[in-house]
C-alpha cells in the first residue's frame, strides 16, 4: 500500500511538471461563433500600454468569441522581446513593430505578408500607401500595417516664458532664439533649479542626423563623421547646453528628474507619446504648447526629428490569420480606435487624420498645436538601433560622454568615431 502511494505521488509530480508545458492550440475555427485565442504583443509606457489594451478590450467586446492574451513589455525591452520571439519561434499572432528596427527583420519568414490582405480589403483607400511602401515594405512584401506615426517637437512652458519676458516661439524661430530663451529661463540651483531646456535621453539619437548630413550612411554602410560639420555642430549643441547648465545631463542615467510636467523646464524635446502624460499631469498648473523644431541659419535647414512609425504585424505562424487581420484593421482603420490612439501619435487612417474632428480633438485634455507634429513629418529622418548600427551608436555615445566630461574635443571625437565606425562596418 505504501509502495502504491509512493508511486502514485511521484507520478502525480511528473504529470504536474509535464502539464505545465504549453499545449498546442487545436482551434481551427472558421466561424464567428467558435472560440478564438489571439496573442497580442506590444510596448509602451503606462498610458500607451493602457491605450493598446483598451483597443484590444474594445475588439473583444465587439467579438465575444475572441480572447486576446497580452504580451507586454516596456519600450526599452521591446527590442529584446522581439529578438527572443523570433529566435524561439514564439512571436504573438499580432505584434507591434517599430519602423526603426524593422530593417533587421527584412527577408524574415516569421512575418506574414500583408499585401494580399491590403489589396483584398482595398486598404489603399484608408491608409497612405506611400508610408506603407516606404516604411513597412521591402521587395514587394508588406511586413506591417501602419498604426500611428511619432515625431518630435519642442514643448514650451508659457508661464516660464512670461516670467522671463520672452515672446512665445513660433514655427520660424531659430536655434539662436531657442538658446537665448534657454539662457533667460535657466535659474536657481539644486532642488530649486529651473532648466531652460530638457533633451532627455534624445541627444544620442538626434545628433546622428540633425540637419540632413547623417553620421553614417545606411545604404552604403559608410561612415561620415570626421569631416561632417553638421554632426560636429549637433554634438556641440547638445554638449554645450548641458555643460552650461541649460539642460540636465540625462544621457546615461534613466530619466529621473521628472519631465516637463514638473514645471521645472522652460522647453523640452517632446514626442507625440508625451502628450498624454502632459495632459494628465500638468492640468492647470501651467500653460503650455508645442512648436516645431527650430531652424538652423548656418545650414539653412530645420532641425530634423527622428521618425518612428508604429505598425502592426501578423506572425506567419498565427493560426487564425483572418481574425488577426481583422484585429489589425480594427486598430488601424477604425475611426474610434484611431481616436483613442491619437494622444500618442499621428493617426494613419487618412480620412481621420485629415479631418477637423482630429485636429480639434484633445481627448478632453488641454489644447495644443497638434499641427506641429503633423508638419514635422516633412522634416523627419529615420534611424537604426540594431546590429552593426547599434555598435556604432554605442561608440558615438561613449565618445559623446567623454566630450561631456571634457575628456576629449569635438574634432577628436569625430575622428575617433570615424575610425571605430569604419572598423565595425568592415566586420559586417
Amino acid at each position: 500500500m505504501k509502495k502504491l502511494l509512493s508511486v502514485f505521488l511521484s507520478m502525480a509530480m511528473i504529470i504536474g511538471v509535464v502539464a505545465g508545458c504549453k499545449t498546442s492550440n487545436n482551434a481551427n475555427s472558421s466561424s464567428k461563433s467558435e472560440k478564438v485565442n489571439l496573442t497580442f504583443g506590444f510596448w509602451g509606457d503606462t498610458k500607451e500600454a493602457d491605450m493598446k489594451m483598451a483597443l484590444a478590450n474594445a475588439y473583444m467586446d465587439k467579438n465575444p468569441n475572441v480572447t486576446i492574451e497580452f504580451e507586454y513589455t516596456d519600450g526599452a525591452g521591446y527590442l529584446t522581446k522581439m529578438q527572443t520571439w523570433f529566435s524561439s519561434n514564439t512571436a504573438p499572432d499580432v505584434f507591434g513593430v517599430p519602423s526603426d528596427t524593422l530593417f533587421q527583420f527584412l527577408g524574415n519568414d516569421k512575418f506574414e505578408d500583408l499585401s494580399s490582405y491590403i489589396n483584398n480589403d482595398s486598404m489603399d483607400k484608408e491608409w497612405n500607401m506611400d508610408t506603407v511602401n516606404s516604411v513597412y515594405s521591402s521587395d514587394g512584401k508588406v511586413y506591417a500595417a501602419p498604426f500611428i506615426s511619432k515625431t518630435f517637437a519642442i514643448a514650451y512652458n508659457k508661464n516660464l516664458f512670461d516670467k522671463a519676458e520672452l515672446a512665445y516661439p513660433t514655427n520660424d524661430w531659430t536655434e539662436d532664439d531657442m538658446l537665448k530663451a534657454a539662457k533667460a529661463i535657466t535659474s536657481g540651483t539644486g532642488i530649486d533649479k529651473v532648466h531652460g531646456l530638457r533633451w532627455g535621453v534624445r541627444p544620442t539619437e538626434f545628433y546622428r542626423n540633425l540637419y540632413g548630413d547623417a553620421v553614417y550612411d545606411t545604404t552604403t554602410d559608410k561612415m561620415n563623421a570626421a569631416n561632417n560639420k553638421q554632426f560636429k555642430h549637433a554634438v556641440s549643441l547638445f554638449s554645450d547646453t548641458i555643460k552650461q547648465g541649460l539642460a540636465p545631463n540625462e544621457t546615461s542615467a534613466a530619466v529621473s528628474t521628472g519631465g516637463f510636467e514638473t514645471g521645472k523646464f522652460g522647453m523640452q524635446l517632446c514626442a507625440t507619446w508625451d502628450i498624454a502624460t502632459f495632459q494628465s499631469m500638468i492640468g492647470n498648473s501651467f500653460n503650455w504648447d508645442v512648436v516645431m523644431l527650430p531652424m538652423n541659419t548656418e545650414f539653412n535647414t530645420r532641425m530634423l526629428t527622428t521618425y518612428r512609425g508604429n505598425g502592426w504585424s501578423m506572425s506567419s505562424s498565427a493560426k487564425e490569420k483572418q481574425v488577426a487581420w481583422d484585429f489589425i484593421k480594427f486598430m488601424s482603420a477604425n475611426k474610434e480606435s484611431q481616436k483613442t490612439a491619437q494622444s500618442f501619435g499621428i493617426p494613419e487612417l487618412v480620412s481621420y487624420a485629415n479631418s477637423d474632428e482630429y485636429k480639434n480633438d484633445f481627448a478632453g485634455g488641454s489644447e495644443y498645436n497638434k499641427q506641429v507634429f503633423i508638419d514635422m513629418l516633412n522634416y523627419k529622418t529615420g534611424f537604426r538601433n540594431l546590429g552593426v548600427y547599434a555598435q556604432i551608436n554605442d561608440v558615438i555615445k561613449s565618445q559623446y560622454e567623454l566630450l561631456l566630461a571634457d575628456k576629449t574635443t569635438v574634432d577628436a571625437m569625430a575622428t575617433e568615431v570615424q575610425k571605430q565606425g569604419e572598423a565595425l562596418f568592415a566586420t559586417k
Binding site: 527590442l79 527583420f105 539644486g190 544621457t251 575628456k407
Partner: protein
C-alpha cells in the same frame, strides 16, 4: 559467500529515480540542454533569425584578439568584484558581530538590514536613481544643507562605478544572516577559556571567531564572486554602461552582443569565456582555502 552481480535496479533505487525525476527533468530542460545549445551556438555565427552557420573557434579568436570591449568590460567587472566582494565580506562580518551581541532591538535591526535583500532589484535600483540625482536627489539635497554641492554620482565617469558598488552594500543581508548563523554555532566555552587566559577582543576574534566562521566566509566569498562576475542589472538599469563605458561590465557586453548587435553566437562564446574565468577563479579560491578555512571536524 557468493557475490551476485547486480543486473537491475532494486525497488529502492527505482523509487529514488522516480522521485528525483521532476527535478532532473527540469534541470535537463531548463539548464543542461540550454547550456549545450549555448555551447553549440558559440561555434556558429547566428543572428537569432536565420540558421546558425558553423564557424569553428572564430568567435573565441575574435574575443581574445579583436574585441576591445571584451578586455574593457572584463576589467570593469573585475574592478567591481575586487572592491564589492571584500566590502561585502567585511561589512557582513561586522554587522553579524554586532547583531550577535543580542542587545535589545537586535531583532529589529536584523530585519532592517535584511529588508533591502528581499526588495525587487529593479525597483531598488530605480529608487537609488532618484537618490543619486544630481539636482534633486536626496543625497545631494542633504549635502547642500552643509554647503556641499553634490556631484553627478552616476554621470561622473570616476564616480559612477563606486556609486553602484556603494549601493550594493545595502543588500548584504543574506551574507550577514549566513555569518550570523555561523557565529551562533561557535561554542561559548572557547570564549570562556580565552577570557580566563586574559585574551582581548581582537585576539578572540583572530584566533577563535574567524577560524570558526571561516567556512561560512568561504561560502560567502564564493557566492559573492559568482554574483559579482555576473553583475548586469544595476548598470543596465542605472547607467546603461555609461558614462563613457565607466560601468560597461561584462554582463552588459554579453547582453548587447546578443540582443542589440544580433550576434547570438558571439554572445554565447562570451558566456562560455566568462564561465571558464569563473571556474578558474573558483579553483584558485578552493586551492587557497586549505590555508585559511578550518572545519571543526579537521580541528578535532
Amino acid at each position: 559467500m557468493k557475490k551476485h552481480k547486480v543486473t537491475s535496479l532494486t525497488n529502492t533505487s527505482r523509487l529514488f529515480y522516480l522521485f528525483i525525476a521532476p527535478w532532473l527533468i527540469g534541470f535537463c530542460v531548463f539548464t543542461f540542454f540550454p547550456m549545450v545549445f549555448s555551447l553549440f551556438t558559440s561555434f556558429t555565427s547566428w543572428n537569432g533569425l536565420s540558421v546558425p552557420e558553423f564557424i569553428g573557434f572564430k568567435n573565441y579568436v575574435n574575443i581574445l584578439t579583436k574585441d576591445t570591449m571584451f578586455i574593457s568590460s572584463l576589467l570593469k567587472t573585475l574592478y567591481y568584484v575586487g572592491v564589492s566582494v571584500p566590502l561585502n565580506i567585511i561589512f557582513s562580518i561586522i554587522l553579524a558581530l554586532l547583531l550577535n551581541k543580542r542587545l535589545p532591538g537586535s531583532n529589529v535591526f536584523r530585519s532592517i538590514f535584511y529588508l533591502p535583500t528581499i526588495c525587487s532589484g529593479v525597483a531598488l535600483y530605480i529608487a537609488w536613481l532618484y537618490l543619486y540625482n544630481q539636482n534633486s536627489g536626496f543625497i545631494n539635497v542633504l549635502l547642500s544643507f552643509i554647503g556641499i554641492e553634490g556631484p553627478g554620482w552616476l554621470t561622473n565617469i570616476d564616480l559612477a562605478m563606486p556609486s553602484i558598488i556603494f549601493m550594493g552594500m545595502f543588500t548584504i543581508g543574506t551574507s550577514m544572516t549566513i555569518v550570523l548563523a555561523g557565529l551562533q554555532n561557535v561554542p561559548h566555552s572557547y570564549y570562556e577559556a580565552a577570557d580566563l587566559d586574559g585574551a582581548g577582543a581582537f585576539y578572540k576574534f583572530k584566533n577563535i571567531t574567524f577560524p570558526m566562521i571561516s567556512p561560512v566566509i568561504f561560502f560567502n566569498l564564493l557566492m559573492a564572486l559568482i554574483k559579482g562576475l555576473q553583475v548586469f542589472t544595476q548598470p543596465y538599469v542605472m547607467t546603461e554602461g555609461g558614462p563613457a563605458n565607466a560601468t560597461y561590465v561584462y554582463g552588459l557586453h554579453l547582453y548587447k552582443s546578443a540582443f542589440l548587435y544580433s550576434k547570438f553566437g558571439y554572445a554565447s562564446a562570451l558566456a562560455w569565456v566568462l564561465f571558464i574565468i569563473l571556474i578558474a577563479l573558483s579553483i584558485a579560491i578552493f586551492a587557497t582555502s586549505k590555508f585559511w578555512v578550518f572545519y571543526r571536524e579537521d580541528v578535532n
